[in-house]
Symmetry: C2
Subunit: 176 residues, 2 copies
DNA sequence: CCAATATAGCTTGCCATCGATATATATCGA
DNA sequence: TCGATATATATCGATGGCAAGCTATATTGG
């Protein structure tokens, strides 16, 4: 998730670590903050893998900046991760939202549509929590108000997203 | 998250690991599967901390079962975690949903309401991603359809949950 | 009778993340 | 001038999660 965000932000423009830190905080930090001790090792990891380049810049404001650039291999890796996301990126909301934030980088509408279709398949497939064997559960089937809420919220959420997915898929198909 | 789920399920009744594994899978496995290599060490951890007891039962179907029981200390710890959840449990959906699934164990409506109010505060507080400095963003402010979607879905989701939170808070307050 | 599957539990090695801590520089207000 | 804050990067130890593999037994279907 973090690596995807790093690659995704750097696809737009080179950034130094501190700026990257702020952008990531603005994107997902509200929900799940990223510690410094997570970000910098992640940058090193991507750098060692040849996905990032680094240029030293004398500090304009404070300590010297390390400007990070996405290498061609990095761009390829980003597109690969967007095109063929692992299952977790389709089921876990945090990861899925991160992916969605950068899906525009995948220029081909057909490829974008393929990813959205996989998410749609996941969302329209029944969640085990909401089934009692073969019988679909309703909010009234839960005796406590909190599980009722869980159900109500999950249903509303998934309905809103399914609607958006269908609309957007129609749009992408009419484009391509 | 996993530890909360273990303690939460065992509050209802003693269970052996395999059954626990299935219940957790039914609750959150759809979105985020739990590996065996994660569950069993977590059980040991809680056991070592004195939160769980263990009784050997000759296998009724296969290998002998280790029936796990919530100790008084374990019950205390569960209630503490429900009553005073860490920030991450209020912001991260996965964790929040897990917490919600067991919030009924906190018997006092006033305490339950306090937790819901903290979530409401988080949800009604503006997310940095959706603000440009002081200006709130609208879906039309995003140029690509995927970030538009992100915004649309997040808004719909949060609206549905806020409505439920307000309704349920009213209910809890009228009860207590 | 044999293979597959379900039940049942556990370990090991690897890797990612977190919290704490360290180091420096520039700016701004008291 | 001193402390606070913002900018900027990095390391380290502990923890926790994951994939893979291991060991059993009982049932079911071919």
């Amino acid at each position: 998730m973090l690596e995807l965000a790093i690659l995704g932000f750097l696809h737009d423009e080179p950034l130094h670590g501190y700026e990257l830190r702020k952008r990531i905080a603005a994107l997902t930090g509200h929900v799940r903050p990223i510690a410094d001790g997570t970000l910098y090792p992640a940058i090193k990891r991507l750098e060692r893998a040849g996905l990032l380049g680094r240029d030293l810049q004398p500090g304009t404001l404070a300590a010297p900046r390390h400007v990070l650039t996405l290498s061609p291999a990095g761009r390829g890796e980003l597109l690969r991760r967007l095109r063929e996301p692992e299952e977790l990126f389709l089921t876990d909301e945090n990861r899925w939202f991160t992916l969605l934030a950068f899906l525009r980088h995948l220029r081909d509408p057909a490829e974008q549509a393929t990813v959205l279709r996989r998410r749609l398949t996941f969302l329209t497939q029944p969640a085990s929590f909401f089934w009692d064997g073969d019988r679909p559960l309703r909010a009234a089937d839960f005796d406590d108000p909190f599980r009722q809420g869980l159900f109500t919220i999950a249903t509303a959420t998934s309905r809103a997203e399914i609607r958006w997915l269908r609309d957007t898929l129609a749009l992408l198909e009419s484009d391509g």
